[in-house]
């Protein structure tokens, strides 16, 4: 069933791309970026998943050869990635607010002073 996770995560990434490319609203663009991010997070966490594994939380004595747990590294990576994703969203939203103030619109087709 893990394949379903992979398909789903790539679907999310592509959905993010699709949103960014086709939607002309700045807020929707930001949403697209977030969706893309969630897709990658899902991918990371799925890669670390071992069917039937426990949570990778052990004290020094508990860890034995027989311990069976999910890969902890992707979880650490996901945490980092989530933090970064939140920062990206915050930053882009702040930019969107400032742009709305100075351009008076959220339509990307009108926010194109720099071109050519």
């Amino acid at each position: 069933m893990i394949q379903f996770n992979y398909i789903c995560s790539f679907f999310l990434i592509v959905l993010g791309f699709y949103t960014i490319v086709t939607k002309y609203n700045l807020v929707k663009t930001v949403i697209g970026m977030s969706v893309m991010d969630y897709g990658v997070n899902l991918l990371i966490i799925s890669i670390g998943y071992n069917p039937g594994g426990t949570a990778p939380i052990f004290t020094a004595g508990e860890l034995t050869r027989a311990s069976y747990f999910v890969d902890p590294i992707p979880q650490a990576l996901t945490l980092t990635s989530i933090v970064i994703g939140a920062c990206v969203t915050a930053m882009s939203m702040s930019l969107v607010i400032r742009m709305h103030e100075s351009y008076g619109t959220l339509d990307t087709r009108e926010i194109r002073r720099l071109r050519g």
Binding site: V21, L26, T29, M33, V40, I73, M91, V96, G116
Partner: protein
């Protein structure tokens, strides 16, 4: 831990990174209250940033001896967690000649730009925050190139993208700054996502994030997933290097950011992307048909070269023009080791543009003119940069471009691949087009007539000239001694890039890759020192004759009206302000290419969706190329 242990040079890489992050932390902790000194609104914080960048540079210079000359690869495990059971457990820094080469470039650019910033940022508010971001950006890039861990590379990419986006939008009042930052953020974020996807796909295959270990594991186990991962990683780092099709972002970002940051974007950020691509192709994926990969890189490099130089010819804004040139030169960098010179002269040019902006308040080529009378030093420094980037002998741009021509043509002959021949021709023609657009800049900004409103313009403060002077001196020196520079810096870096085996073994992993001997054969001859000597003698001879013959004699005038005599000739009319410059200077050239220029202008629409679409298309093409060609 005793002191002797602390000063061991194996610790220097982490010091070089941490001193910058520490600087950022101290500046942030000291609050955002501006100082009262009008010449330095950031007060002591500017000095902290300066000291941090200088210290970082010193640490890296100290590494030249063991790494560049000694050929050592420094492996540094953080927290002393090294390898266990054949797997890299800790997070590593890994410094070979290639890393150090890029790190030195970055540290130099960051240091010079910090010197420049002190006087340059006087007109802005929130300058303390500027230095926080500045140190973060510098630390992020340095961390990226010195890192031996691929996930750490991703984190550093995010840090530097963040700092760069914030700094691009730093002057929120500047025309289009917010917009440029947002576009950069969107496409940069897509790039980062691509990098992360690539990283995690590699991890899924090999269960390690250490570069050296990946490099030892990937050969022989290549499958479709790794190819896909490579495509993702390649596109991700391309967005950081701004090569085609991501060049419009660079143009927007450079135009809006303060000049000191433009220097970092062009000299530092793009280098991080280039470094990433090099690491990928030469280290991780060196077994997947290096010849084809090289050809792809060189091909994209040539496209970048040509597209961006023609776009630059059509620009009306000084910094935007420089931005396109920056990417055009990145094309040369992809093709070969032009990286160092690129950082030097591009930095110099952006600083000169910043000086013009600082004094006049505009970078519009159509409004400026005749500044050479008011800013003679800046003019000379700008001209050195312009000659360098255009590849006029004996400056450094020529030395490296010349090696590129020789090498690419040699390659074309050796492999019989006509593509490389095309690259040689494009490189040579691009160089002339570059010269053309810098003639345009010098005519429309520094020469020609001075507009009325700039009559009170003064030369920029000494601090800014000093920063430009350092870069100009480096440009001249590296141009005059290309052989020594090659021996000291670029050759070790090139050898390191080819020598994956030693990189892997020095980290403690096993590899079957043999050590490769790289030799440099040069087909041509060029001795800049002798040439310069002869030129100087010749020039001296001409000048002596000229001075002896009263070259600039002005006789007693016979006309009553002295003023009219020294006016310009306007067909008899009274002098009016008339400046030939701006965008249409090379009409004769553009007219023949008008369909191309129209097409390109429509293509660079400025809509963020379009640029995102390009990114997606590029990703798709990269995936297809990897799957089919390799």
């Amino acid at each position: 831990m005793n002191f002797a242990n602390m000063t061991d040079y194996h610790h220097f890489p982490i010091y070089a990174i941490m001193v910058l992050f520490l600087g950022a932390f101290i500046i942030a902790a000291s609050g955002g209250k501006p100082s009262k000194n009008p010449n330095n609104p950031a007060g002591f914080r500017a000095w902290i940033a300066l000291i941090a960048t200088a210290a970082s540079l010193c640490f890296l210079i100290a590494l030249i001896r063991p790494v560049m000359l000694g050929g050592e690869v420094i492996a540094y495990w953080m927290g002393s967690r090294g390898i266990s059971g054949g797997y890299a457990i800790g997070i590593a820094l890994e410094v070979d000649a290639l890393s150090l080469f890029f790190a030195l470039l970055i540290a130099t650019a960051v240091f010079v730009s910090a010197v420049y910033s002190i006087r340059y940022m006087v007109h802005d508010d929130c300058v303390p925050q500027y230095y926080v971001l500045y140190c973060l950006l510098a630390g992020g890039v340095l961390g990226l190139v010195l890192s031996g861990d691929i996930f750490n590379m991703f984190v550093m990419v995010e840090i530097l993208t963040f700092a760069a986006v914030a700094l691009t939008a730093f002057r929120t009042k500047v025309y289009g700054a917010l917009e440029a930052a947002f576009k950069y953020l969107v496409v940069g974020c897509m790039g980062s996502t691509a990098i992360l996807t690539g990283v995690i796909m590699l991890y899924a295959q090999y269960h390690t994030l250490n570069l050296a270990q990946l490099a030892s594991l990937i050969p022989g186990t290549m499958n479709n997933a790794t190819k896909l991962a490579f495509a993702f990683l390649y596109i991700g780092f391309s967005t950081k290097a701004f090569i085609v099709p991501f060049h419009p972002l660079a143009a927007d970002a450079h135009g809006a950011a303060p000049a000191s940051i433009s220097v970092l974007i062009s000299g530092v950020l793009t280098k991080s992307g280039i470094y990433g691509i090099m690491r990928l192709t030469y280290f991780l994926f060196q077994t997947m048909g290096l010849g084809r990969m090289q050809f792809m890189l060189v091909f994209i490099g040539s496209v970048s070269m040509f597209v961006c130089v023609t776009m630059a010819l059509a620009q009306h804004d000084f910094k935007r023009l420089l931005a396109y040139h920056s990417i055009s030169q990145i094309g040369y960098v992809l093709a070969a080791y032009h990286a160092m010179n690129h950082t030097l002269f591009k930095g110099l040019l952006f600083l000169a543009a910043g000086a013009v902006l600082h004094e006049t308040g505009t970078t519009d080529l159509g409004k400026l003119g005749g500044l050479s009378k008011k800013m003679p030093h800046t003019t000379v420094l700008f001209l050195i940069g312009a000659f360098s980037i255009s590849g006029v002998p004996p400056f450094n741009g020529f030395a490296s471009k010349w090696m590129i021509y020789q090498a690419s043509y040699q390659k074309a002959v050796d492999t019989g691949n006509i593509g490389f021949l095309l690259v040689t021709v494009i490189a040579l023609v691009t160089s002339t087009l570059t010269l053309a657009s810098f003639v345009k800049v010098s005519q429309s900004v520094f020469f020609g007539q001075l507009p009325k409103e700039y009559e009170n313009v003064k030369e920029v403060p000494f601090g800014m000239r000093l920063a430009m002077g350092i870069l100009a001196a480096l440009c001249v020196v590296t141009g005059l001694f290309p052989k020594s520079v090659t021996a000291l810096l670029t050759e070790p870096a090139a050898k390191a890039a080819a020598n994956v085996g030693s990189y892997i073994t020095s980290m403690g992993f096993k590899t079957s890759l043999p050590a490769v001997e790289v030799s440099f054969v040069e087909a041509g001859v060029w001795e800049p020192i002798n040439w310069l000597l002869i030129l100087c003698i010749a020039l001296l001879a001409v000048t002596i004759v000229a001075v002896a013959g009263k070259y600039d004699r002005v006789s007693e005038t016979t006309s009553e009206n002295v003023e009219t005599k020294y006016q310009l000739f306007y067909g008899g009319e009274e002098n009016v302000y008339s400046q030939v410059g701006g965008g249409d200077l090379f009409w004769g050239f553009k007219h023949n290419w008008r369909h191309y220029f129209d097409f390109m202008h429509k293509l660079h629409s400025g809509v963020v969706n379009d640029y995102a679409l390009w990114a997606v298309v590029a990703l798709a093409l990269a995936i297809v190329y990897m799957m089919i060609a390799l």
